[in-house]
Symmetry: C2
Subunit: 300 residues, 2 copies
């Protein structure tokens, strides 16, 4: 593995671009490959078996491009597929969004005796109990409160922003139990949710520390690469107070691959992340079962 | 083709079951095969090319079961794929949800000089302009108002009902322009929407006639089969005032096939449609391109 090899990032669609945003801010010189599985989007309401096979096929697609690290930038996919794909592709360093998020949540809870830590995420992530396990492994005296919030992704993808009254009502409904139980930390357990960070902060109030799993995931990747001497160029700011600043001009490239509708993907990416995605490549990954190697071909 | 051959129904997931409900009420003796493409659900935000290839693969899956009629019980799929699959499978009578819905809308507008007809549907259906074309072909002096309402399907699938405040706010937001423009007819252009019929009626008021595309589609199928002498047994009530009555005991069978998560499908079906779905068969349709015949195998 070489410093100059790319970092590969996979997601069910658009949300993982919040991770890419953070990666580029922290490590502006890295080349990034991004795969958005828009034909199967959203993963949040698909079965574990289906999600695992999608992730496996995307990893097989990436292998010939020799990534130095693979990021599963989707909470549902991390929750469901991470352990088995890590075992299946031992030659490839793989990390996800859940461990870094859980670690940051426990750190943020500080020395509180029995901290209440909330997690909002898709149905699939919540059902997997992955956050619960990751938090309790680090801190066995904690109350973990889980809440599926399935409307937030479609709301964001419809173009609704923090000031939309429907977004506010949904957040108020979803977060009511968290507020009543006085959580001190709230994990945004879906890579779309940072786009509503301001609105979420307004509903839970200033005493709740928000953990952005996308930001934590990117910092974790930088640490892992740094430890192995695989970081390229100088590091940017790992400070999440900088998230609202424009992404610095990056020497690293970004190539994107999608399984459906490259135009819509580029449009949504520029609308929500102010990220210019140049001509995503349409890829057709056929074969979704464990035993079939997927036939790979660019269809666009 | 024989009277005893089944009717095949396809949909992206659950919504088409409202069509099945109406089919069973009107034609209780028919055997029905239902395919819910839950791995690709929802179709509403997928590209036309992808939706067409999904529909084509499902039809190829049905062919060996010798259906006497195929219903595309999904507005997005009808809007996008209907003309080309009708041409590609000339031996199979195919109908969809849009033509019957448009016909009923024009009939409901009556003798009004310049009727305002509203249509709510998914993004894909609206973008296709299929309803607009189908309405204007029958009545060229009409104002057709289209509104994508992408949150309604996830809201219904989350288990929210007409009395949920979030559903009410979303409907009020989505339908405001329809109310202001004084539409006299509103087409529920997605097979999920009949589940919110009461709440929609409340927002638009008693002077707006609602057209249920699922109900209209089922009546249309009964007419087509009747004309060919392919109807099995006596017909039930084609009256949509009867929609709230329990489905009569049916001599006909219902077999269901899904591409992901049979348990979730059966659960949602029983929760929203009070329809008992016995053990849906999990099917793996590989190959999504035009030239590859799909490999078919039951995976469950």
């Amino acid at each position: 593995m070489e410093k100059t090899d790319p970092i590969a990032v996979l997601d069910s669609g658009l949300g993982g671009l919040t991770v890419v945003s953070a990666l580029r801010r922290i490590m502006p010189a890295e080349d990034i490959l991004y795969f958005g599985d828009t034909a199967h989007l959203p993963y949040g309401n698909k079965s574990p078996a289906a999600v695992s096979s999608y992730v496996r096929n995307i990893i097989r697609f990436f292998l010939p491009m020799r990534p130095k690290h693979l990021v599963i930038a989707c909470n549902t996919a991390t929750a469901i597929a991470m352990p088995e794909v890590a075992a299946e592709f031992p030659q490839l360093p793989i990390s996800g969004v859940i461990e870094p998020g859980a670690r940051a949540a426990v750190a943020a809870a500080g020395t509180e005796r029995l901290p209440a830590i909330g997690v909002i995420a898709t149905e699939g992530t919540i059902r997997s109990k992955a956050y619960e396990r990751a938090i309790l492994r680090r801190r066995n005296l904690a109350r973990v409160m889980l809440r599926p919030t399935p409307l937030l992704v479609p709301m964001i993808e419809e173009g609704r922003t923090a000031t939309d009254p429907l977004v506010e009502s949904a957040l108020r409904q979803y977060l009511q139990s968290m507020v009543l139980s006085k959580v001190s930390v709230l994990v945004l357990g879906c890579t779309h949710y940072p786009l509503l960070k301001g609105a979420i902060a307004k509903v839970v109030g200033p005493n709740v520390r928000l953990i952005d799993s996308a930001e934590q995931c990117a910092r974790d990747v930088a640490l892992r690469l740094g430890r192995k001497g695989l970081l390229r160029g100088a590091m940017g700011s790992p400070d999440d107070t900088a998230t609202d600043e424009p992404v610095p001009p990056s020497a690293g490239s970004l190539r994107t691959f999608v399984t459906d509708d490259p135009q819509r993907f580029a449009l949504l990416a520029s609308r929500f992340l102010e990220m210019e995605i140049v001509a995503p490549t349409l890829v057709n990954l056929t074969g979704t079962t464990e035993n079939d190697p997927p036939a790979l071909r660019a269809a666009g």
